[in-house]
């Protein structure tokens, strides 16, 4: 894969605070990469380094094959969209779109052509003469995307562009950004802490923690085969169930529970023994009709039921282990009931409690 952005051993310090340490990342041409992580993990910092808004402490950044580590933001061939929109409030939408181009001494004809194209793509033609204050949040963010679009940039950077919008608009704009990506086909790096955005938009997701990338993989891989406990815990809502136990002769054993791990793909295809943590997604614990596909079965005592319409989350205990299970929305269960549940070892996750890595 030809790389559009390539980051080598990037270090960034604010005074004595190490925010990014020895970070390496390659982003392919036309790829949609999402940086996902909890607050303060350095997502925005990394994005700002790529944009050139922060001077790196060490390491190199290449965009489109050129070393841009010390280039000005405007010379990097990037466009950027911010959470607060960052529109120029005293200028009309048209002014916002064209100000940078005018400043770059581009010809009037070219400017108006680019503005017209961006306005057409984003469907903001009727708004061109308005000031940002007279626009809704969603419209403002469109204009902000437009400002990146007119730059004809190879790379688009988004820093939580949808966080200030309400849920409905967020979902709409998410779809539009995805459409925009498939229409333009340029590289996009998108920062968010919303899992749904990450899962739906990304070609690959980079999960960050403490300035380091914990796992860089496709959404599917991240969801199904998290590389370590942190990623496993971070992704998925409600989160994964974890049970501490032991691997013994191909079975996972915890008190009151024994699951044969036949069908589980170990990390380096060799079976392990000793202490382990099993991670089970609430939706991978089989109940009702799905029980047929499950290898090992047991009973769980229900303590709480949360019907959510499309599905129902039940909180139950197996032996001494509290677990939550996602059931069909039509399931009729009450607290106090006993339900039969089954495990599918192929979809389970095993982690080493000391290294926290996937077994």
């Amino acid at each position: 894969m030809e790389s559009s952005i390539s980051i080598r051993d990037l270090d960034l310090r604010f005074g004595s605070v190490e925010v990014l340490q020895g970070l390496n990342l390659d982003i392919g041409v036309g790829e949609f990469l999402v940086l996902l992580g909890s607050s303060g993990c350095g997502k925005s910092t990394l994005l700002n380094c790529i944009a050139g808004l922060l001077d790196v402490s060490d390491g190199q950044i290449h965009i489109g094959g050129k070393n841009v580590t010390w280039a000005e933001p405007s010379e990097r061939g990037i466009g950027m969209v911010f959470q607060s929109y960052a529109l120029y409030p005293q200028m009309t939408v048209e002014g916002n779109l064209s100000f940078g181009l005018k400043n770059a001494k581009m010809s009037k004809a070219e400017i108006s052509q680019r503005v017209a194209r961006a306005a057409e793509i984003l469907q903001i033609e009727p708004l061109l003469k308005r000031k940002p204050a007279a626009l809704s949040g969603g419209q403002r963010q469109r204009v902000a995307i437009g400002r990146a679009l007119v730059r004809d940039a190879e790379v688009f950077l988004f820093d939580e562009p949808l966080s200030n919008l309400d849920a409905k608009l967020r979902a709409d704009l998410r779809v539009e950004i995805k459409k925009l990506h498939s229409r333009l086909g340029n590289t996009m790096v998108y920062v968010t802490h919303d899992q749904v955005e990450a899962m739906t938009l990304a070609d690959r997701i980079a999960i960050m923690k403490g300035g380091q990338i914990m796992q860089l993989a496709s959404p599917n891989e991240i969801y199904n085969r998290p590389k370590n406990l942190y990623v496993a815990e971070f992704i998925g809502s409600p989160s994964m169930n974890f049970i501490h136990g032991e691997l013994k002769g191909g079975d996972f054993v915890a008190d009151g529970l024994s699951i044969p791990m036949t069908g589980y793909e170990f990390a380096d295809s060799s079976e392990k023994e000793g202490k382990a943590i099993i991670g089970l997604r609430p939706e991978h614990i089989a109940t009702g009709d799905n029980l047929a596909s499950a290898v090992s079965r047991t009973k769980a005592k229900v303590s709480l039921v949360e019907p959510m319409g499309s599905d129902t989350i039940i909180y139950a205990s197996v032996g001494s282990h509290p677990i939550h299970i996602r059931m069909d929305g039509q399931a009729t269960v009450k607290p106090g009931d006993e339900v039969e549940i089954g495990f599918q070892p192929a979809r389970a996750n095993l982690f080493d409690p000391s290294t926290e890595n996937r077994l």
Partner: protein, 297 residues
């Protein structure tokens, strides 16, 4: 629809009752006093107010007096220079401090400090600094430049600029902190967006940041302008209006007429002229800021 809406007059009754003393004071002291002054500016009052009507006589005399004309001219020079320079200096200082420099608090305090002082102190301090015997001139000559001359307060043609220096020294700090507050209110991401757009810093200030700071600018403008119009104590402390009448200003003219020359009528007329000036500035501002419907910003 409006039938059962509570009477607007009786809403928040407690607050309204509590505000009555202030409203009464404002009405009687400010409005009443002002009206009284204006009325008596048309009379032949001397040591004491006398209701002897003389029409526009006092105004004719006022505009025929050299001292008043010089006062007006001085105010115009001082005001214009002060206005431009205090904004330029204050804004540049604020922009520099806004670069996240170290010791920001110290520097801000040092620069704002003069504002905390009385004009009388400022006037005296600068009287000394600009005094040829003790001040800058003496120091520079002491270093070895024997022919150096810097005595604005003793040269009638430029004496008002000596006052201007003191005024700037005192006033820049206030403008700086107000501008700094305005600059700090600007979203960082706007700066980032401008950098990505490749807009140089000075253009970002002029075309993006300053327009965004319009409310701060207008408020500062009103503070500065009203300060200029009523400049008085600085003059009294620094030059006493001298040399001769070279640094007379309208407020001092009013004071002298009323309390030293026993010519209340003249004083009233002059202060009415000042009131008109301030009103000409403040009323359009108030309409712009508070009146009409909110503009989009």
């Amino acid at each position: 629809m409006s039938a059962d809406r509570p009477n607007q007059l009786f809403r928040n009754m407690n607050a309204k009752v509590a505000a009555i003393p202030m409203i009464v004071t404002a009405l009687f002291v400010f409005v009443g006093g002002t009206a009284w002054t204006i009325v008596y500016s048309f009379t032949k009052s001397g040591l004491l107010p006398r209701m002897k009507w003389v029409g526009l006589d006092q105004y004719e005399r006022l505009w025929g007096t050299k001292r008043w004309l010089i006062a007006i001219e001085n105010l115009a020079i001082y005001g214009l220079c002060m206005l431009v320079l205090v904004f330029v200096i204050g804004f540049i200082l604020a922009a520099l401090i806004d670069q996240k420099i170290r010791f920001e608090n110290t520097i801000r305090t040092v620069i704002l400090y003069p504002y905390a002082m009385s004009f009388v102190v400022t006037g005296l301090v600068w009287q000394w600094i600009l005094n040829p015997e003790f001040g800058i001139q003496n120091i520079v000559r002491g270093i070895g430049w024997e022919s150096f001359t810097f005595d604005p307060l003793y040269t009638p043609e430029i004496a008002i600029f000596g006052v201007l220096i003191a005024g700037l020294w005192q006033g820049s700090g206030l403008v700086m902190v107000l501008m700094l507050a305005g600059l700090r209110g600007i979203d960082h991401e706007v700066w980032k967006a401008a950098r990505i757009d490749g807009i140089p810093a000075w253009k970002t200030y002029i075309f993006i940041v300053i327009p965004m700071m319009r409310p701060v600018f207008i408020t500062t403008l009103v503070l500065v302008v009203t300060g200029i119009v009523k400049v008085f104590d600085l003059i009294v402390a620094q030059t006493g209006g001298g040399p001769g009448i070279a640094t007379e200003v309208p407020a001092k003219y009013v004071y002298d007429m009323m309390f030293r020359n026993n010519n209340l009528g003249q004083g009233f007329a002059a202060s009415t002229m000042m009131l008109v000036t301030v009103a000409l500035i403040v009323i359009p501002w108030a309409i712009l800021e508070f009146g009409g419907k909110r503009s989009n910003d």
